[in-house]
Symmetry: C2
Subunit: 497 residues, 2 copies
Amino acid sequence: MKLTVDNINPRVRAAKYAVRGELAVKSEEYRARLNKGDTSLPFKQIISANIGNPQQLDQQPITFFRQVCSLLENPKLLEKEDVLISGLGYKTDVIERAKWLLSHAGSVGAYSASKGVPAIQDSIAAFLESWSSALQAILYYLLILYLGRDGFPANPSNIYLSAGASSGVNTILNVICTGPQTGVLIPIPQYPLYTATLALLDATPVPYYLDESKGWGTDVEAVRNAYEKATADGTDVRCIVVINPGNPTGASLPEEDIQAVIDFAAQKNVVVMADEVYQTNVFVGKFHSFKSVLRKMQQEHPGKYDGVELVSLHSISKGMVGECGHRGGYFELVGFDPEVEANIYKFVSIQLCAPVIGQCLVELMVNPPKPGEPSYKLYREEHDGIFQGLKQRATALHKAFSEMEGVECGEPQGSMYLFPTIKLPARAAEAAAAEGRTPDDFYCMRLLEATGICVVPGAGFGQVEGTTHFRTTFLAPGTEWVGSIVKFHQEFMDKYR
Amino acid sequence: MKLTVDNINPRVRAAKYAVRGELAVKSEEYRARLNKGDTSLPFKQIISANIGNPQQLDQQPITFFRQVCSLLENPKLLEKEDVLISGLGYKTDVIERAKWLLSHAGSVGAYSASKGVPAIQDSIAAFLESWSSALQAILYYLLILYLGRDGFPANPSNIYLSAGASSGVNTILNVICTGPQTGVLIPIPQYPLYTATLALLDATPVPYYLDESKGWGTDVEAVRNAYEKATADGTDVRCIVVINPGNPTGASLPEEDIQAVIDFAAQKNVVVMADEVYQTNVFVGKFHSFKSVLRKMQQEHPGKYDGVELVSLHSISKGMVGECGHRGGYFELVGFDPEVEANIYKFVSIQLCAPVIGQCLVELMVNPPKPGEPSYKLYREEHDGIFQGLKQRATALHKAFSEMEGVECGEPQGSMYLFPTIKLPARAAEAAAAEGRTPDDFYCMRLLEATGICVVPGAGFGQVEGTTHFRTTFLAPGTEWVGSIVKFHQEFMDKYR
């Protein structure tokens, strides 16, 4: 029997991933037409605001990182240090770092150990543990980057290098889920990797809704209600996913919310999966890692939280690094049973190892140039320039949304996204239905056709029934594209009002 | 309920991957002890002959490839072409290729399209189609590398860039398998990725045995018998995996065997999954791709083979490229239903994209320097040097095995492995059982402890009941380690005879 859509794995068929769905495919077709000189389209470029892909848009890679990578790729250059320094302007710390990484990783063309290069696990552990969070709270912005994050011990052997955070999520959910009886608490709206992976594993997503009226905050009562309902239905709820800062919402959680989630997890013995890939994209308040909050709770209430199982994930794809094409990241396990960890090890070993140059970029991310080192000044300028640029673009886009008819959008707090609500006229919903589309899908398709701007309909992330949202990144440079959205929206509203 | 080994996903628990199992873990512990100056071990280095990891051992990366990668990582170097050329010895074709790749891939730090960079799909298609196989057969060794492989059209949109071939295998098996009722024909011995992935998908491996007495050839009667038996048991057999050249066997299939498999697949409507990652590691005869054989059969018997569904996989990890740490590869789909392809697209899009620098290495592999180009001479020398080195080491190791008591091993034909049979004394089997080990596991553990050489027991790949094998790569430089195996083996036999 030949393979058809009706006899393939129904779990693959059921999985949905709107970030790269129909709209994204159509935008790539438009891009190809533009590249071939097609002038019949009403726009001159495609703006891929559907995906957090910093370097496809304005974000330049950090010079230090890429200089080191160039030497990792071609170690023979290290035989000509004088040319590197005098001819190409490489600083001595670039050369030293490359030598250090090569001495530990060997060739970047060789498989590493399954969990990653041991010396890089050590660097991540040092990054995680090397500063106390009390001082960190005071000196956060200046110190986080070179003095470490949490101030609590981290064991390198609990750290697994991964091909981006996505691969880590896939690993953990594969180990946790045993079938439809397994439930995983998922925020709604959520990054669709979670529901897609659960669909592939035939496990049950247990949605808990974030509260848009409170800046998309995590309300532990909503979590508890979702848990109780699923449990009453016979679902074995084993894990809670928290995305902080939020994707697609951009929310940045206060410490109390994290404490409440951990307390809930401790009561119910559910694994906490903390997706913290946007930890440096924070514009309001500060980032609190689940690990640091957990460790503080363990100190303050001896014994009470010892059983908590936490996975925290990070990535080189986002933040000021923005190296998503290199597929690098890591996850740290806290409180896992050693036999369970052995199965996690086996699972990752089947995939051999994360890309080694991506692993090296993880090392560079957690251990960037420090004050006094030759590359520090440029690193600092580039880093801060990217951060300020993101913040400015977020603010400008938010301002535009706040002036658009029927659009509401919370203040940008973190991550790379805004997730506005749109109140569309009834006639727009009718026109959408006539085309077999939901209103959000219809709106986003018209936006793409009119402006070349690709965003993702809210349904791709989940939204309260009857509401309409879309997610857009604020990575694209300039303000012209923001003007295009404003103009399109006005015309759309005029047409369907 | 906390996660324990008893309540996690039983499919993860059931999966086995001996290539990175207990022996590999123990060898890494020894390596760490040696690195810390431990002199109590009876060896001075670890030889990881358990995994095809060329650059961890002797194989040097191809200079042209890595020079291009260094520029992809740091495109600012392209502003100083004079320094690159006069100071660093970069040829103009290195610079041109880097510019070409950057113009099509953009930043290697950006996500590509889900299926890969379109221009790289085009390059792979050109590689696959650009020479007729009749001429290729005559001029094989000289021409394959710069005049293309199959001589039949390839459609770039059917080509998917992947993170090594492993990721491609995972994608296809996820789409094909629907549960325990799905059967997949697997050669025994096999590369354990296949049984591990089927275990994770809760699908049923249907083993067909390769014939050791005929150089581990693929006997289609064995395939047919396995198919009939599984079908009679109610299994829906949907796919046949063929690894050519073989892993762990090293066998290189003649064209007739490939024809027979395709003919079988056409009769039974099973997907052919051709794992062709060792296609340039061929020492005897020549490599025949499943795609070229299928296309010839389709020409010679119009209509008869039109329905055949073929996936062929290739990788940058092996061959003279050996860049496994970069996690690059591709698969080509032939004869798949477009709706099934749409689900394959969706599956890969959930993982976002293959590492982009690995994708660029795929482009370099399929489109290396050509005669007359500035980098050609060095490329040719390096390429041929690696090939000859592999062949010599294979021959030397084979010679050693053929002189060892109770060891039999077929002539090296291809891939990177030898898979000798060992006839162990009955007392060795008793000693193994007393330790709770199988004889092959026991032998390999004693070998590691005595010599620091890590190989993989035959059970990790599957073997006929009652026989004992191990797999070793022939990548390690020098002959000293071969001598260590000979010495260990003699002492082992003397002890247990």
